[in-house]
Symmetry: D2
Subunit: 320 residues, 4 copies
Amino acid sequence: MANKKLLLLDVDCGLDDAQAIMMALAAPNVQLLGITCCHGNTKIDNVCRNVLRVLKVCQRTEIPVFRGTCGSLLGQSVNAVTYHGKDGLGDVPDPNAPGLEHLQTEHAVNAMIRIVTEHAGQISLVAVGPLTNLAVAIKMDPTFSTKLKNLYIMGGNMEGRGNTTVCGEFNFVADPEAASIVLNQFICPTYIATWEYCLRYSLPWEFFHKWIDQGTEKACFMKKITGHCGKYAMVKKGDKEEHSQAGFVSCDSFAVAAVIDESIVTEYMQCRVTVELQGALTRGMMVLDTLNLLKNQNQAFIMTKCDMEKFKQLMTSALK
Amino acid sequence: MANKKLLLLDVDCGLDDAQAIMMALAAPNVQLLGITCCHGNTKIDNVCRNVLRVLKVCQRTEIPVFRGTCGSLLGQSVNAVTYHGKDGLGDVPDPNAPGLEHLQTEHAVNAMIRIVTEHAGQISLVAVGPLTNLAVAIKMDPTFSTKLKNLYIMGGNMEGRGNTTVCGEFNFVADPEAASIVLNQFICPTYIATWEYCLRYSLPWEFFHKWIDQGTEKACFMKKITGHCGKYAMVKKGDKEEHSQAGFVSCDSFAVAAVIDESIVTEYMQCRVTVELQGALTRGMMVLDTLNLLKNQNQAFIMTKCDMEKFKQLMTSALK
Amino acid sequence: MANKKLLLLDVDCGLDDAQAIMMALAAPNVQLLGITCCHGNTKIDNVCRNVLRVLKVCQRTEIPVFRGTCGSLLGQSVNAVTYHGKDGLGDVPDPNAPGLEHLQTEHAVNAMIRIVTEHAGQISLVAVGPLTNLAVAIKMDPTFSTKLKNLYIMGGNMEGRGNTTVCGEFNFVADPEAASIVLNQFICPTYIATWEYCLRYSLPWEFFHKWIDQGTEKACFMKKITGHCGKYAMVKKGDKEEHSQAGFVSCDSFAVAAVIDESIVTEYMQCRVTVELQGALTRGMMVLDTLNLLKNQNQAFIMTKCDMEKFKQLMTSALK
Amino acid sequence: MANKKLLLLDVDCGLDDAQAIMMALAAPNVQLLGITCCHGNTKIDNVCRNVLRVLKVCQRTEIPVFRGTCGSLLGQSVNAVTYHGKDGLGDVPDPNAPGLEHLQTEHAVNAMIRIVTEHAGQISLVAVGPLTNLAVAIKMDPTFSTKLKNLYIMGGNMEGRGNTTVCGEFNFVADPEAASIVLNQFICPTYIATWEYCLRYSLPWEFFHKWIDQGTEKACFMKKITGHCGKYAMVKKGDKEEHSQAGFVSCDSFAVAAVIDESIVTEYMQCRVTVELQGALTRGMMVLDTLNLLKNQNQAFIMTKCDMEKFKQLMTSALK
């Protein structure tokens, strides 16, 4: 364990969170100290159950799972049912799903603070859902972020293009205030996989189909839960069905891949970032301070180029 | 203790917080289970020390004091130095001030949740500073508010008149998101002493001077710490000095008085309330939904009339 | 004419605009130089026709009527149909209504600029609808306001209480940007009858019923067009119908009354005012700068007390 | 004239406006019916004088010039002095500058409406400053835009990257409400050269230096007025000076080039666009509705690819 990267994963376990968790579990150089759950792609109870299901499929139920915040700071919510299904994992019946009694009793936020304090300077925190847990953590412990080794985020924009609102990406729009707290108050090296980055490096659908057809138990699980998503991505064009999107996008996996293998991201843009909270159309949009007008202390590393071959290998390993 | 009202006080201990705490301590029908500290009138360390100083003067150091959040959710801050002094209590040297080692080690938010859970349905929470601790509490425990007996707040407006920004009252402006979370997500009977209410029922300066000249140890303490405030309230008019404000306003005491003796507030307006978060001039302003257009579940009781004789008696008792 | 007050009326002719016009026409000390029409209570074509109808009833068709802006600056609209009827005057058939060919061909904004320039320093502009025409006028002629004698407005709030949105009054909410332009860029004595002022000085329903039952042609017209409004104001309470509002409120008449007889307003509050443009709940709310924090040059006179006997006399004269 | 493209140019004549005007004047297939002036890069009086100076240098003083709005709708202003100089054209003394008596007396907005009405369906309006004049025009004449052949705009963003505020381009930030009115209320084919487009197709500095050194009278004029700008663009790097920006950007010329020769823009993105008015950081940012969530009727053509060889030829011709 001494040479392994220590990870805490904060997830709102929908489909791509499941993929990201499985990628982290498959990485031999990673030690996953715990998974904290956050509302987002589905309700917190579903998120918790989904994480337990993923750990069971991967036979890694020893990893502690913690329940966290059940809604955004301001209480507004965003619907992600169409893509992830009502239960977050494609609405496939799972009679053997583990019960919520397998959750730790400690609150996710308290657990994050405790674990990060116990391993000060060593933990990479990977947050791939709304940032509510992280925001509450730094309010409970103002020194929280300085005890992190670094922070990897999937969320936000780099070109003002939205996937949930006109200009807003889902994770940030789902809790803009939390995103603002993290980007403005966390003082630690911060790496961000934005929506535009994920979209630019979408995987060919051929890859996706091969990927879920590997025949392993994990691949079968993935095939089952993405059936819904597959249908969602298909649209009728004349006589035949086509994918509505140019490729398969596993957003959260980009953040986990970046922490597993730093050489996967071959170019970053370094600049101050924050979140628009006041906009009628841009509320939740990540803002890049290319003109150096902002005053926040932290500069983030915005991922701009990805080594796709390496990324595909990590994806493939995740289901082996 | 069985017949006493159980109180938790959340303060940002400046001058009127000190007065409010002393009023609560002097009330024979009240059992104060703890004081939680919040940033606001001064820095959190000063707030904690000030509370310990007040308890010492009142010889009630057995009451547990908890350190809470050190800044607003979004990290913006509002200056209250001019009125309360840099240390929050008039910048009077106090060589015998108790050290911060007298604080409990438990975080204020965790303490609030624990105490309220232990005495479910019995606690009156009185919050007279920015509402950051309460906001974080309900994020950590979504059932927090439903375990309260009721909530008393000093803060906000009822006529759009500000004391800190054009339209904003200090406690709400100091953390508008927290105020919004409390007003929209707390489900419990909520009583609010607004800035306009406090201003309308300001006390004559003659009362103030008699009050601090009672000669008791508590009155001497009060006289000392309000010296600064006294000067602040004086302005030169021609040859002589005059009070700049029509009367002496002890804002936080109005909330504590209302919980000690319900008959002190002789009229309430009942309506839904929320907080404007987006305004350029009105950010932090409390909004009264007189047209019934809002959808939040909770209706607040806005204090509109005060029995001043009873209020003066509680004020007087506070320094006896 | 030399001793008469010169008036320009800018209206969005609904019911209270009709009342206000008739009050102005009945005042012997007033010379009405023209009526400019603005969208608001109803569509601009209806507004124009309604003004022509009122002038016909009052046999004053010599007064020039000008068509102005047909929508708010930003193009958003607010519905006032419930109160004023779809046609703005209670949806009562009027087969003899004058045609729109009786309108002047000059645009209302150009006419306002021309008339005010011809009578520089002499015109009282009374604006009782959304302020779009006035806003465009000062953009077309930056010296427009300095050539006015003074400006009377019906609109806005003084205590943050709305009649259209939670915190917003109809005329200001109908074009917040225009209201902001007028309050911030006009440099001339400005008198404002706010919604709360109009509401505070509502007339008893007994007065209203006597008023429309005077038997004159004008009173008959008023009775006819307010039939709708009368019903609107009635609600079933148990076995009998009651007025839903405490009294009859003729908003626009308060602005016209103030210019006809200055002694009618017995108390003003003088302060800088502006309009919140950014708020989620307060957009369009008039903001009073009681703390002197704003920088705009103009201080407005906010009407706070009304001599009701004099007001009633002007109301009565209007229908004689 | 029958076969020529009829143009109206609306400018806030700074340096790139001068370049754009000269490009239009040099185009043999273009008939320039008038130039309307708008505040922006410099004060309206300077703008008017600068246009007259440019026409004089080009010996085209027969083209009518109209004074328009002198400030943004809401009265806020943005400073452009650093780049364009205090007088808008590099602060080079010009003792022979034509006087403002050469301006037409008709207001720019009235002139725009008149000319567009006289040539309904034939005019290409090219707006390369803040859009205040166009916004007022459509308020004065709601049919204004439908009488245009098309509209070319230099302004706004396509990737949320600002040049004046964090996310805002100068022309849109200088009057966000006007930009919103134009993008939402104009119904006509609309072509937009955004800041990112102009930046992407900046010209090599070698081109710039050859361009101003052609030796013609026009080139000498351009060399003189861009001296300031040249210095502005230089920064010390170690021992030598370097251009601070990768290339020379003549923003407004991109809009004029596109109307002169449609084949210059080789790729457009077609989508609904609007402007964020409410943001704390994004106010004035152009928003692209790639998700089809907005409801405005007009789809704009956002320029994305430019034939640089053709563009350079037009630039070169402008100074011949």
